[in-house]
Symmetry: C2
Subunit: 335 residues, 2 copies
């Protein structure tokens, strides 16, 4: 868990601490050969040179790094709000790197966080590959994923149980008397927000003895408004008899509301819609959206608290499951 | 514009560079008195000790810092998207500090950005006080404000002309045949988003020969959904004859739509609403909101590009005015 120190580098390279210090400070008094050896050792050990200066203030930077793609403006904003609430209450600063505005830069940002000497990393709403996990391990700081999926499954995670939450959403529609239920989703290839939610939909129908009809799950690549508008239009076109719809995000649900309006279909009188996320968008639309809340603020707060615990104790966190919750508003009617 | 170097500190303190280096690296071989002197000089000059290690890689950190309060989830997200688009196209990283989740921490975050050695600062949606401006000056890096207001007025700014944009919004309502026009707003004490937009509303009415009735401007402290819902309710209660409403943010407008629906008032048939911001929320509601777009993505992109120019050339930017634009959708009807 500990970051390599200048002492470790000196020992490994078999030179004095002063030599390492001079080399990384571009001082004088060493051979080119020694310099190469020290710089290679620095790189090999993942030693971050700025660490020297850190001792000045205290041993930690009191900063945590957050990696966050623009999954959806509101989801990110709410998770971040929770993270900052917890961090600031402990006097910690937060630096945020938005990884998805241009593709493939997650590793660049991990390097940046290493250079900026964060004490820990929160990895949000993104697939944590072995490559990323290995890099973070080399950084020597704890990591917790938030609403994410990690390749090695060993990384501590804070998230809702997506399959169960989706199951509960569909069960809610069933309890309101619906049986012709469609679903709109982002990509089933998305291991966090795609596949498990479709699985939950399937199981809820199955437990009610309703056979699964895969044409009733219409998906697009994203979880955004336009995706929902298109997917709902296709679903209503192919299955005009459905009376209720489970959308795998609030934005998809709101897109579906627009699609329904465009076809002169009243929500909830002719079509009931339940969303997923519980972002503030869900409360702002007309009719206000019934949705499964992921409690993103609590999620961010919990993850940051566990990370700070890990930083202080050196003990790897076990992660946490956040309780989801159905917020009943006005977009679902009882049949 | 240049940051102080270790040389500058050594010269100022009248000691050798090696002494400064040893002191800030917690080395040995100096008196307590010398240490005090050097540390005082470091502080006085705003020298950031990590700068030593930076020389290792290159002279710049290739990182810009963004200070951003949670003005509104979507506004921040869109400005940030523009900033990152510009920064990444030039191989620069962005670290974001969210300043408003807990009050009064702007200065703490400026110190953090100094410690993290950003090459420049984008100061977003917040009042830049003399204190902040002085601190940034001491950091020796360029700053540009985005959609913000600065006390000294000398700081380069990238923003729309709020008064003119508000004027155009109200003029648009007048052109659609409305003359009984109310306004809902955040605090008039807000020098960026409050006062200038109210001023624009006044002027547009004045130019049409319509006397200003201050009771037709209802405001709350914030620019959020609930503020709009409350303000609209009060406005319609006190002025049931108004046919159109200018809301000083999209969230206020969407709150007004909910308030209207609660009172059984049809938008736009009985009440026309024009919003302000042009965030993606405006396209997601029913009816889709006619609004004045601030082109936040372009705003962020322009500001980041100007900041990077400044970093490279050392020349202070002149800032830029972003063109606003009325997006016609379906929430305003022609009388």
């Amino acid at each position: 868990m500990n970051k390599p120190t200048i002492k470790d580098v000196a020992k490994e390279a078999n030179v004095s601490i002063a030599t390492v210090s001079r080399i990384i400070n571009n001082g004088v008094g060493y051979s080119a050969k020694t310099k190469d050896l020290v710089m290679q050792t620095v790189q090999k050990m993942g030693y971050s040179p700025n660490a020297i200066a850190r001792g000045l203030i205290n041993k930690q930077s009191n900063t945590i790094g957050v990696l966050m793609p623009e999954l959806s403006g509101l989801v990110s904003a709410e998770i971040l709000h929770g993270i900052e609430k917890a961090a600031h209450s402990q006097g910690q600063s937060v630096i945020v790197c938005n990884t998805a505005s241009v593709g493939g830069q997650t590793l660049d940002y991990l390097k940046l966080l290493q250079e900026k000497q964060v004490d820990g990393v929160l990895f949000t709403s993104q697939f944590l590959t072995h490559e990323y996990a290995d890099f973070i391990k080399k950084m020597g700081v704890p990591v917790i994923t938030i609403s994410a999926y990690s390749e090695d499954r060993a990384t501590p995670a804070v998230r809702v149980d997506d399959e169960t939450a989706a199951y509960d959403a569909v069960k809610y529609l069933l309890q309101q008397g619906h049986s012709e239920i469609g679903m709109i989703s982002g990509s089933p290839g998305d291991r966090l927000a795609g596949a498990p939610r479709i699985e939950g939909y399937k199981k809820a129908l199955h437990d009610e003895g309703i056979p699964f009809d895969k044409t009733k799950v219409v998906w697009r690549n994203g979880f955004y408004f336009e995706d929902g508008r298109e997917a709902c239009s296709q679903l209503l076109n192919e299955h005009p008899t459905i009376t209720a719809l489970f959308a795998a995000s609030d934005e998809l649900a709101v897109g579906a509301m627009t699609s329904a309006a465009e076809q002169g279909i009243q929500v909830p009188d002719q079509l009931s819609i339940i969303g997923y996320d519980g972002t503030k968008l869900s409360a702002m639309v007309l009719p206000p959206l019934t949705t499964v809340s992921q409690n993103f603020i609590e999620m961010g707060e919990t993850a940051a608290t566990l990370l700070l615990d890990s930083i202080q104790t050196g003990v790897t966190s076990k992660g946490a499951t956040i309780q989801h919750q159905i917020i009943e508003r006005k977009s679902v009617r009882k049949l």
